[in-house]
């Protein structure tokens, strides 16, 4: 049970007496995402790139200083290569983006052979996002992924929803837990499990997934959605798209609050993050780290600026670390915290 952080106090140290200017200690933005195994996954700052939005990182590395990101979560990777959905794959929504990429990816073997060795030369931790139709496939993916360059795994329960028929995993705490168990048994890598916003009982899914071995929870991502092409009166994007972006922000906030109330492991917030206020909102709601997703499409450099702004914010209120702010706003969901 997470207790409220102590109230933030101004820096109590008296000014130095000598003439030389003394620099304040820089704000510590580091985050340990697996506190039960210190050092297993430590981020330099809490701003991560969300799955799918920076690809496997290489094109982005041409544009931005990739090592200044807290972490990168890759595009969803499957056992076999997938060519993805036919065009068009994207459409705009009033407060977000509709996308139906169809999990295009070169397959796990190609990713581990060609990309992991390059990731190993980066400072930024690369988290491999796993997608599959079955728990067995997920376990097979996880078992192969323990190679230099892969710092952690993110299991996206919502993408398993995409490829399955039947009851979505996020609504079924038992199935979500069994899926997590299958991955956990196959790999010792730090494991983040991503809960879909479609989950109605976030606390139940969060608890069972953590009991099944998740080291951290990612709360957020997109919602199943659709659009219609008015000109031709048919479904756009194959009738099965995902809505992401600012529309999801309040949903992500509630998910983070619920999950943080239910579990002790770090919670990562994801959904419509664009400004520093969005970041701080998620942090005070309970997020130890924050993923930037759709906004990366307009501005791949955004997380780097947000990290700087977060440091400025902490300095401005006299906090030595953003960790002092995690979970300081309680009872967001309106229910009493246990």
């Amino acid at each position: 049970m997470r207790s409220p952080a102590p109230a933030v106090e101004p820096d109590p140290a008296p000014p130095p007496e000598d003439d030389a200017a003394v620099e304040r200690a820089p704000v510590d933005l580091s985050v340990d995402l697996v506190p039960s195994r210190p050092g297993a996954l430590v981020l330099n700052n809490p701003l991560m790139a969300a799955a799918g939005c920076l690809g496997y990182g290489f094109e982005a590395a041409e544009q931005i200083d990739i090592d200044r990101l807290g972490a990168i979560v890759t595009r969803g990777t499957t056992l076999s290569p997938r060519s993805g959905s036919p065009p068009p794959r994207m459409a705009e929504a009033p407060a977000g983006l509709l996308h139906a990429i169809g999990l295009q990816n070169p397959g796990i073997d190609s990713v581990l052979d060609r990309f992991a060795p390059r990731w190993a030369t980066w400072q930024v931790p690369v988290v491999l996002s796993l997608c599959a139709v079955s728990a067995d496939d997920l376990a097979a993916l996880a078992a192969r992924a323990d190679v230099p360059g892969v710092a952690a795994l993110e299991l996206d329960l919502a993408s398993v929803d995409l490829t399955r028929d039947g009851r979505p995993l996020s609504l079924d705490a038992g199935a979500a837990a069994r899926t997590t168990e299958a991955v956990r048994s196959a790999s010792d890598l730090p494991l983040m499990v991503k809960l879909s916003p479609a989950a109605t009982d976030v606390r139940a899914v969060a608890r069972t997934v953590v009991d099944a071995g998740a080291d951290a929870l990612t709360c957020g991502g997109g919602l199943p959605a659709a659009a219609i092409d008015r000109v031709r009166s048919r479904a756009l994007l194959g009738g099965r798209a995902t809505l992401s972006g600012p529309a999801l922000r309040p949903v992500a906030l509630r998910m983070v609050a619920e999950a943080a109330a239910a579990v002790k492991v770090p919670v990562i917030g994801c959904g419509g993050v664009v400004t520093i206020d969005d970041v701080i909102d998620l942090v005070v709601a309970g997020a130890s780290a924050v993923q930037v997703g759709t906004a990366l499409l307009a501005d791949p450099e955004l997380p780097l600026r947000l990290a700087d702004q977060l440091a400025d914010h902490c300095e401005g209120i006299g906090a030595g670390s953003h960790r002092d702010l995690v979970g300081t706003v309680t009872d967001i969901s309106g229910r009493r915290r246990r």
């Binding site: 939005c53 094109e59 065009p87 794959r89």
Partner: protein, 234 residues
Amino acid sequence: MRRPVTIHGIERARAEITLHVAAGDPAAPWLSTLHVGDRVALLGPLGKPIRLDRRSHHVLFVADAASVALLLPLADEALATGRQVTLLVGARSGTDVYPSSLLPDEVEYVVATDDGSLGHSGSVVDLVIDYEAWADQAVAAGPAWMLDRLVGFAAGRDRRLGVARLGRRTGRRATAAATRSAGPAWLQVFLPQTVGCALGICLGCVVPGIRDGVRVCRDGPVFAAEELAWDEPS
């Protein structure tokens, strides 16, 4: 999201670039409120441009009414470099057609309308056969169905014209190999832009190529007709 725009013209003496924004773009109202001196963030230039072979003296442009503006800057440049230009435009009816008074006099302008109210009654693709021998190169912009038909039509050009190609091997393979090594393809198509990151990261703009998917933003937006895999119009 960033808005895709194309370069409509460049005035080097005044250091001015004119950008073309599609009328239906959701950002058009916002852009229209900007004033001289306002700042906008611009990313580019992106993607691969249309390539005109220096040996091409006769260039054919094919477009639908909405896409004419995309090709006009290239038509101007073709004329400025001493080439002859023919522009074929298809529209629903005569009222949608780009006014000939806005085109340079030197451009031969031929129109097709679905309802027959102006020019040829039918599709602009019907007109191409009259120019395929004359044109050294063709460039097309328009909706997917139009490009699809054009590409299918262009695939038969060599056969129809009885073009013989010198090469080490005979048959279709020789033609394809010679085509690839002989400079830009006869037909280049300008695929419509879709929303996305524009940097080749998000895979939002991928269209089927002959082997793998190709990204319109990074590998295009201009493609040789042979690079793309076309199946039934979607």
